[in-house]
Symmetry: C2
Subunit: 221 residues, 2 copies
DNA sequence: GCTACGTATTTGACTAGTCAAAATATAGTA
DNA sequence: TACTATATTTTGACTAGTCAAATACGTAGC
């Protein structure tokens, strides 16, 4: 049974790997994401390699094994189901959800998670639009593109926000930018580095920066 | 912020103190209830004394301070609200509830517990009939007496079961002995060491041992 | 080919919690 | 009072996870 520290490392390595386009995660990156010193990360990663959860490439970085990936998906499943519960059932605010879920996910049993999933009606995405892995470990995300890669004058529907930062999320929510909402993409300029949207119901215009738009996935229609 | 180990010790000391009629808890008792060696318990208790959660009387035992009692009540509150949730909302079986609650109670925030309490509709007892302390730390139990201290031919209502052992609970449940159920006390004999009950609806008779009956609290009517 | 800089690793030390086993105190009994 | 059984405490050692600081690589630029 992996300790909650191990679980946390594996989850972070998974998300960093995703972030980096499936290549090795360097120690600096990992240690920063974990909030520990680089030496600590090295020590831990060697241990993770011993138990075959990652493959460690000295002086280069680390990569999840299949076993590690399975654990990561189990953690993601827990995290996302718990987030959904906190938001939809207990009425948490978006900004509060993440920290509490982070602590709970290491304390729940498989039985708990399976019953919770049933109670929530088998949702396939969490409140941020992140897909929830099934109990067998399969995960499928809806077809979507980053908002900064869309053509102008398109009608788009927000699918997912790729960020856990509460500040970012609260800000986006205040612009009604959250999964399910629809907008018209008025303008997207690489030169000014901005994207302008208009909410399809309220017609209220919003302008956001290019890199923020990169963290917003939408489906075009 | 106390560690979950500290939280666990404090909770156990509280319940042992209750069990023992508010006198000092000896190390042997504590170490057995915690599942650690006596030496470990001594070391820990000294530390708990340092941080003023207990007062440690060498070679005699340990007693909670007011600070320790407050922490114990906060833990009991968490435990009982979580148990209620697992049983009533997620549909856990009585026998499964305890272990999962034990792990969760150290991982939840005060915000979580307060929202959960609200969601559950501010229950005042958990599924075993144990009273749930309020967020301010007050606790009040319904008037009740142990079943083995009742006179015969009385109509009694089960109020509370003073035991966490899943086996005991499942067995009692199979006899319909759980909070809210009503029985007629047919016979109570100190000589044979048995108590015989008859369920007031089904009229089915049940005979249980004297010490088991001591762990069943009822209200007479 | 050499140097400098940034990243990675190693080392030694620390904390919390634990155990096994030796040492000590207490209380009951003869 | 002396002895014994039992509870308690002490000691030394171990694990998981961490940090700070010294050290070692590797590569980009000269």
């Amino acid at each position: 049974m992996p300790s909650s520290t191990v679980e946390q490392y594996i989850k972070i390595i998974y998300t960093q790997q995703e972030h980096l386009g499936r290549s090795v995660v360097p120690m600096k990156r990992l240690s920063e994401a974990m909030g520990v010193t680089p030496g600590t990360a090295t020590t831990m990663v060697k241990h993770l390699d011993d138990v075959k959860l990652v493959s460690y490439h000295p002086r280069q970085g680390v990569l999840l094994t299949t076993k590690g990936e399975n654990l990561a998906l189990r953690m993601l499943r827990r995290h996302r189901l718990i987030e959904t519960f906190l938001e939809q059932v207990l009425g948490y605010d978006w900004s509060e959800v993440h920290t509490d879920a982070e602590r709970l996910e290491h304390a729940v049993s498989d039985r708990f998670i399976d019953k919770l999933e049933q109670y929530l009606g088998y949702p396939d995405v969490d409140p941020h639009g992140d897909p929830i892995p099934s109990s067998s470990g399969s995960i499928e995300s809806a077809i979507s593109v980053p908002l900064n890669a869309c053509g102008a004058d398109r009608r788009v529907r927000i699918v997912r926000l790729l960020d856990d930062d509460p500040e970012f999320l609260v800000c986006m929510k205040s612009y009604l930018i959250f999964p399910g909402q629809e907008f018209i993409l008025k303008n997207s300029s690489a030169i000014t580095g901005t994207v302008t949207l208009e909410h399809s119901d309220t017609l209220k215009p919003v302008t956001i920066g290019y890199d923020a738009a990169g963290r917003i996935l939408v489906s075009e229609r």
